[in-house]
Symmetry: C2
């Protein structure tokens, strides 16, 4: 018997990642906060309701059109906190740097982190720097963790989807993943696409502080929209039906996907959210999202159905219907 | 002009690390929480007083006598939170795994993390796993971030040292660094030393909840006792005098240091703290520390003096006195 090893798939955010979490991690650390499996944990500390989240960034290359690993890391944790309905307040930064990184590059990265934090109104309050010898890491890895405050009466969770809920996506999908892929050595090709990396905290507060009944918020990062919808279908034990023709995809992104054989449903986004909203409130919630600077292209893409719990269906452009599974395998390593 | 690059020194925790923090990081992110430069940030959230800290672990090898990268990472963040006077409550875990790590090793690491968290009474509530291709990291890197609650009336900080304060160290120094070094390929030699990695949260609460007047708590990790004392001398603008003969060092550790030319004052500890206590309360605080399971070897090693602000002096065994500077250069890369 050969020894079992960690594969790239274990970090895909898709099926193998989920199995590892369920089979290895959850049984060891079981507690109510972790078991919820939302983008962050919701905590009750001395009466304050907080959200707490962590993410490590290992994107390759570290600079790409529209951003770099630094603002990606700041926006990513801001968004994970936001998807708990929380207002992100404080962020920590852990740098693991490969010996030999140019100080100029480090400064550029840190500058964009400072700018991203400022734009979102969060403070970077604590940090740590480790340096490993050349060849023992790849340029720079960044961990960001964050704390947010959950306003009274806000309760969103992947467990709260209800049959009838309309599903809104806040803009075009697959921009980030295709941008990073297009920037890799040997794959460079002309295109005007850029990462969608953006802070969604203000958009989220506009929705949750409105009188719209929002049940679920989630940002479809690693694993893409297809995987995230599957997670919610399982967490809430509902079926989900989305309409292929309604999916907002930029022409250049769609073209690249076709050229390289990728399904945009599984490509990472870094500045988009999906919101599950009570049907009566869906149109209003959509308009609120569209008013946000990062939500102009928001559309309703589907709804929650009462049948087939745990399954996601896509109504295709030609009138058929197919199951959308979680990502299997690893399409694009080191996309975030 | 050659381009400036990141060197191992930048991650030493010593002089070059401090310059990078002061020259590059602090000006970009300046805010009152970060500027304090304690082991964690102290935050006021909705009336709750919290401590927040982060650390990445890149230790090599990942298994060593007495522990592994997993419990090191959990205890490390527990201790950073504790040094703010806080009771650590919640921890996040960010794994960066090199493709090819054996699942058996990963399980061992995660199991010791769960055990360490349980022992300290903290919950691991949120996490993230990334996998990078073989050769792009070294086995596994772990980030832990943590949140703790600061009890009312507790206020400790590196800024609070006062002339006259007695300085207590909670046990033998340099155990962790010398253990890891001794475990490296090519350097293995027989010895019964093991890491001192341990959670100090209960010890800290026993001291701060007593009626002893504790001004500073700090765990002398990277850079060792010598560097940590320098940090406090600078933060509080006081002088510090320590007595060489009082320093608790195991024979095997002292012997290895002499053999390899290391100064134990600059070798990392992972389960020790130093406490600066009002002189009248010092004996009582010492006894409280000695009653803790990780404080049996605690001793008073020196005091704060009214002269030479920012400087640390060592009274040598032969009656002389020498300046103890911060660590310059990097003695032992990847020690934590």
């Amino acid at each position: 018997m050969t020894e079992e090893k960690i594969l790239l798939d274990h970090g895909s955010g898709g099926k193998v990642s989920h199995s590892m979490f369920s089979d290895i991690i959850l049984p060891l650390f079981e507690n109510p906060e972790l078991s919820k499996q939302d983008d962050g944990a919701t905590l009750d500390i001395d009466g304050a309701k907080l959200a707490f989240s962590t993410d490590s960034y290992v994107v390759d290359p570290i600079f790409f059109p529209g951003g770099n690993i630094g603002d990606l890391a700041v926006n990513g944790t801001i968004n994970d906190i936001s998807m708990c309905g929380a207002i992100p307040k404080f962020i920590s930064v852990g740098l693991i740097i490969e010996e030999g990184l140019s100080i100029k590059d480090l400064k550029s990265i840190l500058e964009t982190m400072a700018t991203a934090a400022k734009k979102a109104g969060v403070k970077i309050v604590t940090g740590d720097t480790k340096v490993v010898p050349r060849g023992k890491a790849d340029k720079i890895f960044i961990n960001t963790s964050g704390i947010g405050v959950i306003p009274d009466n806000v309760e969103v969770s992947g467990h709260n989807a209800k049959p009838g809920d309309k599903i809104i996506v806040s803009g075009t999908i697959a921009d980030h993943g295709i941008t990073v892929l297009s920037s890799r050595e040997g794959l460079k090709f002309d295109s005007d696409i850029k990462t969608d990396s953006a802070p969604l905290n203000h958009m989220v507060q506009s929705i949750v502080q409105s009188d719209c009944d929002v049940h679920v918020l989630r940002d479809p990062t690693r694993g893409g929209l297809g995987t995230t919808l599957n997670e919610i279908a399982v967490q809430s034990q509902v079926g989900i039906k989305i309409d292929e023709q309604s999916l907002p995809i930029r022409g250049a992104v769609q073209g690249t996907c076709e050229l390289l054989g990728f399904d945009p449903l599984y490509i990472a986004n870094e500045g988009k959210l999906i919101a599950f909203v009570k049907p009566e409130d869906a149109q209003k919630a959509l308009e609120i999202i569209q008013q946000d600077e990062f939500g102009k292209d928001a559309v309703i893409i589907g709804e929650v159905i009462d049948e087939t719990p745990g399954k996601v269906f896509l109504q295709t452009a030609i009138g058929g219907s197919r199951i959308v599974d979680m990502l299997t395998g690893e399409q694009l390593p080191r996309i975030c």
